[in-house]
């Protein structure tokens, strides 16, 4: 790509370079949810149509977009921009979880929904956040896992099915 731009599309290269420079200068982290934004507080956090008592914790801005696509969640977010990974040397401190703590204790938030990934690192992060928030009187919940919607058992991987079996629920009503 570098050779192509230099040889055949110098205008495009300039445009790309300007766009990157502009992004680097103007894009920062939202003061409330920590996602990327050009303002101090992003439009989503400013919205008056959202439920300010719900806070969903996700690992990345992409995960936040996925949650938004469900059209099922109307609360606010906190984007960690990473996950706790002991073997990569990422601890709670380096992830800045104290900022999440301050955010969750704003007095308005009643429930924190942990939507970190269902990987070991995501689970470790969720455990840490739950241990951090529970003593402070905030309700902490974790998104469920199991067989995908429309999923046929025949095609579900055994690990998922085994976990779904372990986390089975009583049928009500």
């Amino acid at each position: 790509m570098a050779y192509h731009l230099l040889q055949r599309d110098r205008g495009g290269a300039q445009g790309l370079s300007d766009a990157l420079a502009h992004a680097l200068q103007t894009i920062r982290h939202c003061n409330k949810c920590n996602t990327f934004t050009e303002d101090d507080v992003c439009a989503r956090c400013m919205s008056t149509h959202r439920d300010p008592s719900l806070l969903c914790v996700v690992e990345t801005p992409v995960d936040m977009n996925m949650m938004e696509q469900t059209l099922s969640y109307r609360g606010l977010y906190y984007v960690l921009m990473g996950k706790i990974s002991p073997l990569d040397g990422v601890s709670a401190r380096s992830l800045g979880l104290d900022r999440l703590l301050a955010r969750a204790l704003d007095g308005v938030i009643k429930e924190v929904v942990l939507a970190t990934n269902y990987t070991n690192e995501g689970e470790a992060t969720a455990h840490y956040i739950a241990a951090m928030l529970r003593p402070k009187g905030v309700t902490v919940t974790r998104i469920a896992r199991g067989v995908p919607v429309g999923g046929e058992l025949e095609y579900v991987d055994s690990g998922t099915l085994a976990q779904a079996l372990r986390e089975r629920k009583t049928c009500l009503g």
């Binding site: 070991n120 689970e123 840490y128 241990a131 085994a162």
Partner: protein
């Protein structure tokens, strides 16, 4: 014929994965017959990769690899199942085991007994969400690890060859073992004889033995890790300070 160049159906656990290039992973595994190995999992980070969700630490797998050179290519991974995923504090204990293995176990050195003890330990962690047996288990794994690496502990007799007196006081010198302390003798770390005997028998019912065994193991691990601080221990501390 190079035995390691084509292997199939090998019981193994993933210890850690590192991203490699755009879509691949370097997978650090602990295999039963070949010990710790680095394998290249091509395309494992592609969204629809069949093994993407399989290469998770703490889950029993059967893997196959092929190739030459230092890093071999992972050809196959099959989930063996039956073991719940680690959660909560047990997960952090699991990370601790993996960090010890990554830092202390030389590559491609078979340790079948240690593999069995690791598998057993993960099973215990997975089945014990209340965290009752964890401390004792961690100690016996640390002991097994040192034994396998050839740094076996001397716990039944002191440096002079005399049996350990449960009531006497000892200090532990590296490569030498327990050294009996005289009445007024001071040492950086002092253990009562009973602790050494309990650690030898892996009986951690006595709180003092439990406490002192932990201190002794920590000193030994720090010595063999040559000053490297474990990340998992740092996170454990952060977690306890909450």
């Amino acid at each position: 014929m190079n035995l390691r160049s084509k292997v199939d159906g090998q019981p193994a656990y993933v210890l850690h994965t590192y991203p490699f290039r755009e879509t691949s992973l370097i997978v650090e595994v602990f295999s039963r017959d070949f010990g710790r190995m680095a394998l290249l999992a091509r395309g494992a980070r592609r969204p629809r990769s069949a093994i993407r969700g399989l290469l998770m630490a703490f889950q029993p797998l059967e893997i196959g690899w092929a190739g030459k050179g230092e890093v071999l290519t992972l050809m196959k991974a099959e989930w063996q199942g039956g073991q719940p995923l680690l959660a909560g504090e047990a997960l952090f204990c699991g990370y601790y085991l993996n960090e010890l293995l990554i830092n202390l176990l030389p590559r491609e050195d078979a340790h079948e007994r240690l593999f069995a003890s690791y598998a057993h330990m993960l099973g215990r962690l997975a089945d014990d969400p209340a965290g009752k047996v964890r401390e004792a288990d961690l100690r016996s794994f640390e002991k097994a690890l040192l034994q396998e690496l050839g740094y076996g502990l001397t716990l039944n007799h002191d440096s002079a060859g005399l049996p350990i007196d449960p009531e006497a006081f000892y200090t532990y010198r590296m490569e030498q073992g327990p050294v009996r302390l005289e009445h007024d003798e001071a040492a950086a770390q002092v253990f009562i004889g009973q602790t050494l005997l309990d650690l030898a028998a892996e009986d951690f019912a006595n709180p003092r033995s439990r406490h002192e065994s932990k201190a002794l193991m920590r000193t030994l691990m720090a010595y063999y890790l040559a000053g490297k601080e474990l990340e998992t221990r740092r996170i454990f501390k952060e977690l306890q300070e909450l």
